[in-house]
């Protein structure tokens, strides 16, 4: 029966090439936008280089303090000391890294200024993440303990600073903000969309200007907690919260009297959403907006396709009459038209997949997003397939209902 439906769907497609072109163009364009969007969301939130362990990582990005009336609040990153005391000491985590977010800096090649993004990290940073070392190696605890002036740089910065040289730059000198550092490793850069790992230059936190010795709770550091396995995330989170509960309250930080302290360790997506605004329920709003945008992107073209499909009903009326006369129940006919629509949508999905590959290739090579690595992986493919099915169902059900309810005798007269 399925082959019969597909044969018909194929013939219907061939019957009016112009209509088919318009239909497939609409479906493909819609699905391409959705697939690129899905790929981008996957790029933002998925486990990708160098944060390939995101599925078992918790991110600590900011602390929030509130006064006793909860009317005023202050939030921001934490001090190295605070994270060492409350996060680094976790027993249930496999490893904990403390690093800064992205800082700005400058380097000069002759008179040419190179704008830099820099990051201070501990040695565990290189264990929690999985950077590809193209040259050399990461700094270790010894380098940190010795306050060695060493740096790990990205291949892109190497090219900018040393020129397009093929030979290794390990051991060479880099001058940044009038301080000379020795290059200890060269890594393939992390995309700018991954702020916990993105930088051009990575310093050990004991190098100058890192402010790691700052006392108090607030500072410029964040942390990533790596659990042994995904199922341990809750345990790690609970232990961290138990540490946070030990913070003496009330307290004073830079003259601000606080009575409540909130520090969350969250999976990347939740953490990302939490940074948009500290309000509760924002996650729902964020995903609601994403779902709404997706629905609009699917829904509007689907409504359009419904109109096209419905307007072509009469063309199929005789066939509907014949099938009903020979015993097709309404439900079976509905399925026929839904399957036909899904078939057409999947063809559109196939075209969209090719278009998406082209678009993401263009995005990756354009340099709009540094080190962008948008891909169509299994997750993106499955979501795209689901989107195709939803689109096919949305645009197929109403015409199918209209078609299947035609009176047989009237349909046969058409």
């Amino acid at each position: 029966m399925l082959s019969n439906y597909i044969k018909i769907a194929w013939k219907v497609l061939l019957r009016h090439p112009f209509y088919t072109f318009i239909t497939l163009f609409g479906i493909s364009l819609t699905l391409t936008v959705l697939m690129v969007l899905t790929s981008f969301l996957d790029h933002l939130f998925g486990s990708h280089y160098p944060e390939t362990k995101r599925d078992r990582s918790l991110y600590i990005m900011q602390m929030r303090t509130q006064d006793s009336t909860r009317t005023g609040s202050s939030s921001g990153p934490m001090s190295f000391k605070f994270l060492t005391e409350y996060a680094k000491s976790l027993k249930t985590a496999e490893r904990v890294t403390i690093c800064t977010f992205v800082n700005s800096s400058n380097a000069y090649v002759g008179s040419q200024k190179i704008k830099l993004n820099t990051k201070y990290t501990d040695a565990d940073f290189w264990e929690v993440t999985e950077f590809d070392f193209l040259e050399g190696k990461p700094y270790n605890e010894q380098n940190i303990a010795n306050s060695d002036l060493v740096v790990v740089i990205t291949d892109d910065f190497k090219k900018q600073y040393f020129g397009n040289v093929a030979e290794s730059v390990i051991g060479k000198d880099v001058e940044i903000e009038s301080i000379h550092y020795r290059v200890i490793g060269v890594v393939k850069g992390s995309p700018v969309t991954r702020p916990f790992t993105y930088a051009d230059v990575y310093y050990p936190y004991t190098t100058p200007k890192s402010n790691y010795q700052r006392t108090g709770m607030r500072g410029g550091y964040v942390a990533i907690l790596l659990a042994k396995k995904t199922s341990d995330l809750k345990t790690v989170r609970d232990e961290f919260q138990s540490h946070i509960a030990r913070i003496p309250l009330p307290g004073v930080e830079d003259g601000y009297k606080y009575a409540y302290v909130e520090v969350k360790s969250e999976p990347y997506v939740e953490n990302f959403v939490g940074t948009l605004n500290g309000n509760k329920g924002l996650k729902t709003v964020f995903f609601g907006i994403i779902a709404f945008i997706m629905l609009m992107l699917i829904g509007l073209p689907a409504i359009n396709l419904v109109n096209v499909n419905v307007s072509r009903i009469m063309e199929r009326a005789s066939e509907i009459g014949i099938r009903k006369a020979f015993g097709a129940p309404v439900r079976t006919l509905m399925w026929q038209f839904i399957i036909e629509n899904l078939f057409i949508t999947l063809i559109g999905g196939g075209i969209a997949l090719v278009l998406t590959l082209i678009v993401i290739q263009l995005i990756n090579s354009s340099g709009i997003i540094a080190y962008a690595d948008l891909t169509i992986n299994l997750n993106v493919f499955l979501v795209s397939l689901l989107v195709c099915l939803v689109f096919g169902l949305l645009s197929g059900v109403l015409p199918a209902l209209r078609m299947s309810k035609l009176k047989i005798a009237e349909a046969l007269k058409a």
Partner: protein, 220 residues
């Protein structure tokens, strides 16, 4: 086999009410070959549609094998049409996008008949109407007579007890019409109950019984 009692059919639009059938009482026995005649617009096709469960009467009862079908739902009516009735239409009503064999298979699609036996039955039906050499053709590649023979093959492929033919020779020349009539007579000889709407007296004379309609009323 088919029993119609006090059948009335009214077509209503917002301003006009048309009585298509009025007080029709009819009993078709198993194995009969019945023809229905009458001028255009007298309600012949409407009567055939009601007998074939393609349309509902406005009043009266339809019984098939002693069972009232007025309370049946879509799925039960569809099953009855599929198992008990085969249709032959004046304008053939083949699906142009499907090959001859695919067209003939249609009634079997709505039964639990698998692909291979389905094709075998379809080929047997086509052989019966002398079209086994045209199975991969498409309707547009066939003559009128050939199309009607495909339609007959489709009507008989599910081995229904009743065949309803609405002017099956209406679009054919007399030689081809005779050929179609011979096939129908052959099917009747094998036990099928056939009810045929026709304008052709000669064709009607070849059936067991003639029913005449005039303005929606049975006159003979």
């Amino acid at each position: 086999m088919i029993n119609l009692t006090n059948i009335e059919k009214v077509y209503r639009t917002s301003s006009i009410e048309t009585l298509a059938l009025n007080n029709i009482n009819l009993n078709i026995r198993k194995g009969e070959f019945v023809s229905i005649m009458g001028p255009s617009g007298c309600g012949k096709s409407t009567l055939l549609n009601i007998m074939g469960l393609l349309d509902e009467p406005s009043k009266g009862t339809v019984e098939l094998d002693g069972q009232r079908v007025s309370t049946y739902r879509d799925r039960e009516l569809a099953r009855l049409r599929n198992e008990k009735i085969g249709f032959i239409f004046q304008s053939f009503h083949l699906i142009n996008d499907l090959s001859v064999v695919d067209n003939v298979e249609i009634p079997l699609l709505y039964r639990s008949t698998n692909g291979k036996p389905r094709q075998t039955y379809a080929k047997e039906a086509l052989e019966k109407v002398g079209l086994s050499n045209r199975i991969k053709h498409f309707p547009k590649q066939l003559s009128g007579g050939q199309k009607q023979r495909v339609a007959i093959a489709r009507a008989i492929v599910g081995k229904p007890e009743i065949i309803l033919a609405d002017e099956p020779t209406g679009n054919l020349d007399s030689a081809m019409g005779n050929e179609i009539m011979n096939i129908l007579q052959g099917l009747n000889d094998e036990g099928a109950t056939i009810i045929m709407v026709t304008h052709d007296e000669n064709m009607a004379k070849r059936t067991h019984r003639l029913i005449r309609l005039f303005d929606g009323t049975q006159v003979q």
